[in-house]
């Protein structure tokens, strides 16, 4: 049964070849971001939106320049050294005008999943001018508050959000949506209980509709990241694979159905980069496409170009475009 599932989940991976031996053509679109941690491509327009997280704002990229769209998010600090200022994290459009923003700017339990209506809005707007927001508050002694909504992915009727709060559970949260109306966020899938590994961070939806999670693991432990497939409706774990990557921060399928991961590699950032995940027997192997300095988020556009945010050096965070072909 496991092999049967495996073949289906990875069938797209085996089909096509990789980019050129020397790595893909790429260029830096913007180079002065402050801890960019999220990216979304606007439907219809193809405009690129980025969480300029340390600068507590979301920006739109226009002709290689940043235009503030949502500003004045609170700022929190992530890590104990190195430390990173963070504000908004994961971004997702559910339609052309509705932008969902995962917060990283408040304490666990108060962190917000914010929903913005950009239609006819006089930009930039303030962070608190959202259409709706919701939180995953603590409840009693048993249920811990959630925060750091790292990354978002959607199916036809639900948004899945990776969280960092209860390290006994490792929640992936869910918020249903209908049209442009987003329901409140709720705890959905306890990934740490399922995998025994900490920190769901990367998330995407497979071409077949499975929920695919990149379990970061401990930042002090190399090579412990997992790639895990779940049935999004039943929550059944379909596959759980050791990737040998250090700290997966993002997952995305290319337009050709190939699966890619970003590896932050906390304990040795020189090891970080963009990797292709390839079926290998009943496991997975990785192929490094390009080295990147602390990559955080990525998204493919309609043409197959890949946009990646990297933290890089202080206040020199980048938005990188990798040409179609992945």
């Amino acid at each position: 049964m496991k092999i049967f599932k495996f073949v289906f989940l990875f069938v797209a991976m085996a089909a096509s070849s990789l980019c050129a031996q020397d790595g893909p053509a790429m260029n830096v679109i913007v180079g002065d971001l402050d801890n960019p941690c999220g990216i979304a491509i606007q439907p219809e327009t193809g405009a690129i939106f980025v969480s300029d997280s340390g600068a507590s704002r979301i920006v739109k990229i226009v002709d290689g320049k940043v235009e503030p769209v949502i500003t004045d998010f609170p700022v929190d600090i992530y890590g104990k050294g190195p430390k990173y200022n963070i504000g908004p994290l994961g971004l997702l459009f559910i339609d052309q005008n509705t932008l969902v923003v995962g917060g990283g700017d408040l304490i666990d339990g108060e962190e917000k999943l914010r929903v913005y209506d950009l239609k006819d809005a006089k930009l930039p707007i303030k962070a608190d001018q959202m259409k709706t927001s919701s939180v995953l508050a603590a409840a009693g002694e048993e249920v811990k508050g959630e925060g750091n909504f790292y990354a978002l992915a959607k199916t036809a009727d639900a948004i899945y959000i990776t969280c960092n709060g209860d390290d006994n559970k490792g929640w992936v949260a869910k918020a249903g949506f209908k049209g442009s109306d987003v329901a409140s966020i709720e705890r959905y899938l306890a990934t740490k209980e399922a995998t025994q590994i900490d920190a769901p961070v990367g998330v995407t939806i497979s071409p077949r509709g499975e929920l695919v999670i990149g379990q970061m693991g401990e930042i002090t432990v190399p090579n412990d990241s997992l790639l895990t497939f779940y049935d999004a409706n039943s929550k059944e774990m379909l596959l759980n694979l050791k990737t040998n990557l250090h700290d997966i921060t993002a997952l995305a399928y290319s337009n050709r159905g190939q699966l890619y991961a970003l590896d932050f590699a906390w304990s040795d950032t020189k090891q970080g980069g963009l990797f292709q995940l390839l079926a290998d027997g009943d496991g997975v192997k990785t192929k490094k496409i390009v080295a990147l300095d602390k990559p955080t988020a990525m998204a493919f556009d309609a043409d197959g170009s890949l946009y990646v945010t990297v933290i890089g050096e202080e206040k020199k965070g980048q938005l990188i475009k990798i040409q179609p072909g992945l």
Partner: protein, 334 residues
């Protein structure tokens, strides 16, 4: 009838092979299969050699300290003292970590400075405050013992070597396993009677309110990571642990998460042995560790009641104590 005999013969042969090939020896309930390095496959002879070396005090400069001196099977494979002791009564600053299930650890030593058991095994031999015998001298010393000469030839096809010493000790240590605990019987075999009511309550706390499983997770009850609990951080010159290896600021005062298997046997606790009992350990976490700039984000005030604390200790004591604890005795030495 003939077919039955053939099957029986095959089964018998397989069972004999099981008994004599440690590589396929049964893994205790609750633990994953032990993975052996491709260049250090186990064999009975190699494990026997490693066991002898482990217990042989001649690997120290004064013939008085062996691996087992600080990692004593009778004391939870630690030494029952706050810190490790070496030749001439010298004391290190850290406790002797248990050897139990160390094969499953991603890193060795409290600060994770060794990646493998093979690397780790040689460290204390040469360490001036442990066994204080330079590896070259250790090789020369063992080479003068006829029994070891023959065994190294038989196992490795070569004379006594540093590499062989490390491999043999590591192969032995990979047999030191703690599983088959009441927790495993409860969780895996669904044996409701395996845990007392108090232990069940402690288990619920462990995986919930008490936040223990934020770090003590998986079959070996460790995330294999490094965390600052505040222990020792108020000292004038704190032991900075993992930071000394990585030089990452956030690693200051962080130490490896130990396994909790058979934890009741290996008091005192923490990297400096500063907490004498499991009750002390639970109290440490209940009050939120010891505040410092690098305290792990998973350490916070828990507000555990007296009943909660008692239940947690019961779970640790009863729930994680192996019914097949490897109470190994010293072998005859060559």
């Amino acid at each position: 009838m003939k077919r039955t005999l053939v099957v029986c013969a095959l089964v018998s042969a397989w069972m004999v092979a099981m008994q004599h090939d440690p590589a396929v020896a049964e893994t205790p309930l609750g633990l994953p299969t032990v993975v052996h390095p491709s260049d250090n496959a186990p064999s009975d002879a190699k494990i026997a050699l490693g066991k002898q070396l482990y217990f042989d005090a001649r690997l120290s400069v004064d013939d008085k300290v062996s691996c087992a001196s600080c990692h004593d099977p009778k004391k939870g494979w630690s030494n029952g003292e706050a810190t490790a002791s070496g030749v001439g009564g010298q004391r290190g600053g850290r406790s002797a970590p248990t050897v139990l299930n160390t094969t499953y650890q991603r890193f060795q030593f409290w600060d994770g400075r060794a990646d493998t058991l093979e690397q780790q095994a040689l460290g204390p031999i040469a360490n001036p405050i442990e066994m204080n015998l330079p590896i070259d001298a250790a090789v020369k010393k063992l080479s003068a013992i006829e029994g070891y000469q023959k065994q190294f030839q038989a196992v490795f096809g070569s004379p006594v070597s540093a590499e062989g010493i490390g491999k043999a000790i590591a192969a032995f240590e990979r047999t030191v396993l703690s599983g088959n605990a009441p927790y495993d019987k409860y969780k895996i075999n669904k044996d409701e009677s395996a845990l007392s009511d108090s232990a069940k309550q402690g288990m619920k706390l462990f995986f919930g309110k008490a936040n223990c499983s934020a770090c003590h997770v998986g079959p070996n009850f460790t995330d294999n990571g490094f965390h600052n609990l505040g222990v020792g951080m108020k000292a004038e010159k704190p032991d900075l642990g993992r930071f000394e290896i990585t030089k990452l600021e956030g690693d200051r005062g962080s130490f490896k998460t130990p396994s909790l298997r058979d934890i009741a046997r290996s008091a005192p606790y923490m990297h400096d042995g500063s907490l004498a009992t499991l009750e002390d350990v639970v109290e440490h976490y209940s009050k939120g560790g010891i505040a410092n700039d690098y305290l792990d984000e998973e350490i916070f005030t828990l507000k555990l009641s007296g009943e909660d604390k008692a239940a947690l200790v019961t779970f640790l004591n009863e729930g994680l104590s192996s019914s097949t604890y490897p109470d190994v005795s010293a072998p005859e030495l060559p």
